[in-house]
């Protein structure tokens, strides 16, 4: 019953978002594109930070790899751009897998910092890597031909895909395991939960998705160099969106990234104030609603659309 309602809601939303390009202005389209991209990124960040207990400050590593793969493969080798970003995503997944033995030893804040250092290391590495022409600025001219509508559709696909990945992942065993690990890792382990494997699965999935989203993002940006590709600003945006929206809720990243884009759009008119305002908003929201907007709403009213909670089945035999 509830599920079918949910599906109807989702279908309506998807249809709505799909018809906008026909109706909306280029500006609206541009804003929605940004929202979708940030939404997709935040959803992935939230999967790790909010559900898997892996607060990462290094997701920019995958945005950068995704962007660079798109650039190098399409600009230098003339590969199809969509194929390029998929390869980028695969490379991200492999890279995530490769660094996991090291960074998975760390937990909590060490993990957060470790991932950031990995991203910084990539920044330095790319800056010194001849294959990508060192820290050269790249114009990604292969995506110049994409129009606003195409960009929007790509971004929308990313947003929907990211949301669905999280939605379904949390409904598999992984979701249950993640919640258990978050609450008490040692107890989860003695209950048979394989912590390492579970986290690794999430991480690699998130890496893959981030690579994909990174590629899509750079179709929009059309310009890359190591310090922008691997900039902490990507993670700052995701973190902001997720925590404002509500860490560990599925709706949080959605609300958060929409807000983030709206705020930055409004702030275009007040140069130099944008970040000051974002900073203040971050502080004020957390002071008032430490769980973020959706988290607090949930705590107060129990409102949650996309809850990963397991429902308790009706008993077959009536109990006395």
């Amino acid at each position: 019953m509830k599920k079918s309602k949910l599906i109807v809601l989702i279908v309506i939303l998807v249809v709505l978002f799909a018809v906008i390009p026909a109706a909306g202005s280029p500006n609206l389209l541009n804003i929605l594109t940004l929202m979708c991209l940030y939404l997709a990124m935040s959803q992935m960040w939230n999967l790790l930070g909010g559900y898997a207990g892996m607060l990462s400050l290094g997701m920019q590593a995958f945005i950068g790899i995704g962007g660079y793969t798109l650039t190098i493969l399409s600009v230098r080798y003339g590969m199809n751009i969509f194929l390029s970003i998929i390869i980028g995503a695969v490379i991200c997944a492999l890279f995530g897998l490769a660094v996991s033995p090291a960074i998975f030893k760390m937990s909590g804040v060490y993990f957060a910092i470790g991932t950031w250092i990995v991203a910084e290391a990539l920044n330095v590495f790319f800056s010194n890597w001849k294959f990508v022409d060192y820290a050269k600025d790249w114009s990604i001219n292969t995506v110049f031909g994409m129009n606003g509508k195409q960009l929007y559709i790509t971004a929308l696909i990313m947003a929907v895909l990211a949301t669905f990945v999280v939605f379904f992942l949390l409904r598999t065993k992984i979701g249950l395991a993640l919640m258990a690990i978050r609450d008490s890792a040692s107890a989860a382990e003695t209950m048979g939960v394989e912590i390492y494997k579970t986290k690794l699965k999430c991480y690699v999935i998130a890496c893959f998705m981030m690579g994909l989203i990174g590629g899509a993002q750079y179709m929009q940006t059309a310009y890359i160099n190591p310090s922008t590709g691997f900039s902490i600003n990507w993670t700052i945006a995701m973190t902001f969106a997720v925590i404002i929206g509500g860490l560990g809720t599925m709706e949080g990243p959605i609300v958060g990234s929409i807000l983030y884009v709206i705020i930055t759009q409004i702030m275009y008119n007040y140069p130099g104030m944008s970040n000051i305002v974002l900073g203040i908003i971050a502080i004020v929201v957390i002071m008032i609603a430490p769980q973020g907007i959706m988290g607090t709403l949930y705590a107060k009213t129990g409102f949650q659309i996309l809850s990963p909670r397991r429902s308790i089945p009706k008993r077959e035999t009536a109990k006395e």
Binding site: A102, V109, I113, I117, V124, N128, I236, A282, I286
Partner: protein
């Protein structure tokens, strides 16, 4: 080679100065302070402005900067951190994160984006200058100050009633209250100390390197590096962490070229992390 190791060790002293404040705040308040770098740069600017405005001696302006930063630390603790500290890791993190973007952009508004350097003659002097080795006066000064502060602070933390009360508060505020410790004051005191040290670090950084309002991030990552190598919350670890990072960077530059010197430092850091996930000198055992 010898030059690299010596410079690396000395640079490590400066790095550990950058890290101390962050390590303490984490060790005591379990707070990962993402605004650490920006706060430090703020300290640098305060020193700079006072030196310029009053034309006074660097030491005096540093003292003033320390005082201002201590007050700021108290304010931040009372009005921001205290309110969210018990609400979990993420809210506290976001508050410092918000503070970070707020501060760096506010500094940008106030001080403009121009590069700055604190005028002091140490930065271009050297203590030893031979054919092979030269020791920069500012590096050496930083190193000495770092060692003095770390040793002093360790003694205070380990041996005095005040130090114990802070450690106790950090472990279990409720129980500490029951022992008669005013935990609010203890946290505030800790924050004040951290900010004071951070102001000193800021002055040292400002008189060694060129800086601008958004330099904070760069030093945040160095502070992070230092404390994760040494182990969050360990003072002695901070010193070692700084030295490891400094030497790795310098030797990396020497062997592989300066372009990759930070890459080498980061790799060393990650390897140490993989082998010792809580740093070389992690103090508190893992809980839960």
């Amino acid at each position: 080679m010898a030059q690299c190791i010596i410079t690396g060790i000395l640079l490590g002293g400066l790095y550990s100065m950058i890290g101390i404040g962050m390590s303490l705040v984490f060790g005591i308040m379990k707070l990962t302070n993402l605004a650490h770098g920006d706060l430090m740069i703020l300290g640098t600017y305060i020193t700079l402005v006072i030196t310029r405005a009053l034309g006074c001696n660097l030491i005096i302006s540093t003292i003033i900067s320390v005082i201002v930063m201590c007050i700021l630390g108290f304010v931040i603790q009372q009005f921001l951190v205290n309110k969210v500290m018990d609400k979990g890791e993420a809210p506290a993190l976001l508050v410092t994160f918000g503070l970070s973007i707020f501060l760096s952009n506010l500094m940008l508004k106030i001080f403009s984006a121009d590069n700055q350097a604190i005028n002091n003659s140490l930065s271009v002097k050297n203590v030893v200058s031979t054919e092979n080795v030269s020791i920069s006066a500012s590096y050496l000064t930083s190193f000495i100050i770092a060692v003095v502060i770390i040793v002093g602070l360790t003694l205070v933390m380990q041996k005095t009633n005040f130090g114990r009360s802070i450690r106790a508060t950090s472990d279990d505020p409720m129980a500490a209250e029951l022992m008669g410790v005013n935990t609010k004051t203890a946290f505030a005191a800790a924050m004040v100390i951290c900010m004071g040290i951070t102001a000193v670090a800021g002055t040292l950084v400002g008189s060694t390197f060129t800086f601008y309002p958004s330099s904070g991030t760069q030093y945040l990552i160095i502070a992070f590096g230092v404390v994760v190598i040494g182990g969050m919350g360990s003072l002695f670890g901070t010193l070692i962490g700084g030295i490891v990072l400094g030497v790795a960077q310098l030797l990396g530059g020497f062997v592989f070229g300066s372009g990759v010197q930070m890459l080498i430092a980061y790799i060393v850091l990650l390897v140490i992390q993989a082998l010792r996930p809580n740093g070389l000198f992690a103090t508190s055992a893992m809980r839960k």
